[in-house]
């Protein structure tokens, strides 16, 4: 094994050396310049290998099982659905959309608020520069990165087995997801601030918490608000699909109407959701621009 490795590395070194001759050129005054070796070709071939592997695993496998003509013959299905959405649009269904849509908005509002309130103290625990030389920030960050790996939907799925169904599950899942994201964004900001004022106030005899309130809070508060707004946008989009696992909101009727193949109703749901998302997005962008 060892000899094989060294053989391979020798081969690569040899290749690079031989390659160097082509990349060296002599200028008119007699000096030699060498173009630096570019790793682009290595990275590109690696990506190509990965691509071929995945292509074989998913695409080729799919066509082997179903055949190419089967796939082509069913592509129009997708456009038929879109066409039906446009043609059969059923405006009278809108009255059924309002209440779940309000639920979705409420889930994301309360989830964002509670999650970001919980995030502030934990973000302090996770910042190296506030806590000083201690093992707490490392442990906190590790746990946060594990919590952060799951999307909102996985939390909702787990809670749906514990609590049954309802908007409460959606709120709980949104709170945990918001908490994990806001904490990360917040400790990154706290760790990058100017520590001069904090140290000066600590030197006057203030406790860490007092010094944080007086010196750090004014520096981060604006960005804290803008993080909250940004997360509200994300949560609104995420909580639209929470209904697929019985966690309340507009996803429930979306799932039902799709299963019943009432595409006209689905179109109304999507349109209502789209309008709300766009309004919230523009509002939050405006507010964030004001904040910075």
């Amino acid at each position: 094994m060892k000899t094989l490795c060294s053989k391979i590395s020798n081969f690569i070194k040899d290749l690079i050396k031989r390659n160097q001759r082509y990349r060296t050129s002599e200028l008119s005054d007699g000096t030699n310049i060498t173009r630096p070796f570019s790793y682009a070709i290595v990275i590109f071939s690696l990506v190509l290998i990965v691509f071929i592997y995945f292509w074989n695993m998913i695409i080729t496998d799919f066509f082997n099982r179903f055949g190419f003509s089967f796939f082509v013959s069913r592509v129009p299905n997708f456009f038929t659905i879109i066409q039906k959405m446009v043609v059969q649009v059923n405006w009278s269904y809108f009255s059924n959309v309002v209440s779940p849509l309000v639920d979705t908005i409420q889930i994301s509002i309360i989830g964002t608020l509670v999650g970001s309130l919980l995030a502030l103290p934990v973000a302090i625990l996770a910042s190296q520069n506030i806590m000083g030389k201690s093992y707490i920030p490392g442990i906190t960050k590790f746990f946060l990165s594990i919590i952060r790996t799951f999307p909102t939907l996985v939390y909702a799925l787990i809670f749906s087995f514990i609590f049954g169904y309802g908007t409460f599950i959606g709120v709980l899942a949104t709170v945990i997801f918001t908490f994990s994201i806001v904490t990360k964004m917040l400790y990154e900001i706290i760790e990058a601030i100017d520590m001069g004022a904090f140290i000066a106030i600590e030197a006057t005899g203030a406790t860490k918490l007092q010094a944080f309130r007086a010196a750090v809070m004014p520096q981060i508060i604006g960005r804290y608000y803008s993080i909250i707004l940004y997360n509200f946008e994300i949560n609104l989009r995420a909580s639209a699909i929470l209904g697929f696992v019985n966690a309340g909101g507009i996803g429930i009727i979306m799932n039902d109407q799709m299963a019943l193949q009432k595409y006209g109703n689905v179109a109304v749901i999507v349109l209502a959701l789209l309008i709300v998302v766009i309004i919230v997005q523009n509002l939050s962008q405006y507010l964030r621009r004001r904040l910075s």
């Binding site: 594990i146 939907l153 996803g251 979306m254 999507v270 959701l273 998302v277």
Partner: protein
């Protein structure tokens, strides 16, 4: 000392603004607090919760280490593959969208393209998956198509930005040097684009990996299928094996994506 106190007393207070913001937040909280209607635990909720926690540190080890089609490693590779191929598909599909929306190419007609892109950006992605299930049936292929189409929203937005502020000065100076068309593209345009495009595509890949883990819930392949079936059947140890698979893969992808993007931005 007196002047310090005077200055402290005269500090800006923003009383009106603060009260206004606080009352808006308070109103929103009270208005939306009625969604917290605690439904009570389901029939054996506490037992399920206990089982889930117990299973978390004792997953089905045979699933975690098996190399077969049902094993967690294969499913995670499939999830990664869905995200990878989907991101590539999205990056390809975004090119025509971007050229049809860039302001310096189509002028005022960019409003059509913008509407389409905004729609795709905020389209609920489970609905898209349900639509593609009707094309390619349940399986990984559906996931690839869904993620590919959904990635258009973010990636084409970046392409548009890039196209709209290409620096024409570089092209002019290459013209003045007598560069051919190929040389102009190779040395004038590509170096301007690679770093920002690669970093956004990598970032989108990171998001897509997370999306691909849950796409299985509507039958679009990946680890979500195993997670859902294991949970509905009450096989918590299998579900926990799937959860650990998600944790490890997302952490690894997160780490490398952050590292790569930092290198790309810093040059």
């Amino acid at each position: 000392m007196q002047t310090v106190l005077q200055a402290y007393e005269a500090r800006p207070r923003h009383t009106v603004r603060n009260v206004l913001v606080a009352s808006v937040i308070l109103f929103l909280t009270i208005w939306s607090s009625d969604v917290i209607n605690y439904p009570g635990l389901s029939d054996n909720g506490i037992e399920i919760a206990r089982n889930i926690f117990r299973a978390l540190y004792n997953p089905t080890w045979s699933l975690v280490f098996s190399l077969g089609v049902d094993g967690i490693p294969f499913l995670m590779f499939e999830t990664l593959g869905i995200a990878f191929l989907g991101t590539l598909l999205g990056a390809l599909l975004s090119v025509p969208f971007a050229f049809l929306t860039a302001r310096n190419i189509v002028g005022k007609f960019n409003i059509i393209g913008n509407t389409v892109i905004t729609t795709i950006r905020s389209f609920p992605f489970f609905l898209m998956a349900l639509m593609f299930v009707r094309v390619s049936g349940p399986g990984a292929m559906t996931g690839v198509l869904t993620i590919g189409v959904l990635s258009i929203g973010m990636i084409s937005k970046l392409y548009i930005e890039v196209i709209e502020d290409i620096d024409p000065g570089i092209l002019m100076s290459l013209d003045a040097l007598g560069a051919t068309k190929y040389q102009k593209i190779r040395y004038g345009i590509i170096p301007q684009l690679t770093a920002s495009i690669l970093s956004v595509v990598i970032y989108r890949f990171e998001i897509n990996v997370k999306n691909a883990t849950v796409l299985g819930i509507v039958g679009a392949g990946g680890i979500g299928v195993t997670l859902l079936t294991a949970m509905t059947a009450g096989r918590w140890r299998d579900a926990s094996a799937a959860l650990w698979g998600i944790i490890i893969v997302v952490l690894v992808v997160d780490y490398f994506s952050t590292k790569l993007r930092r290198r790309l931005v810093n040059g």
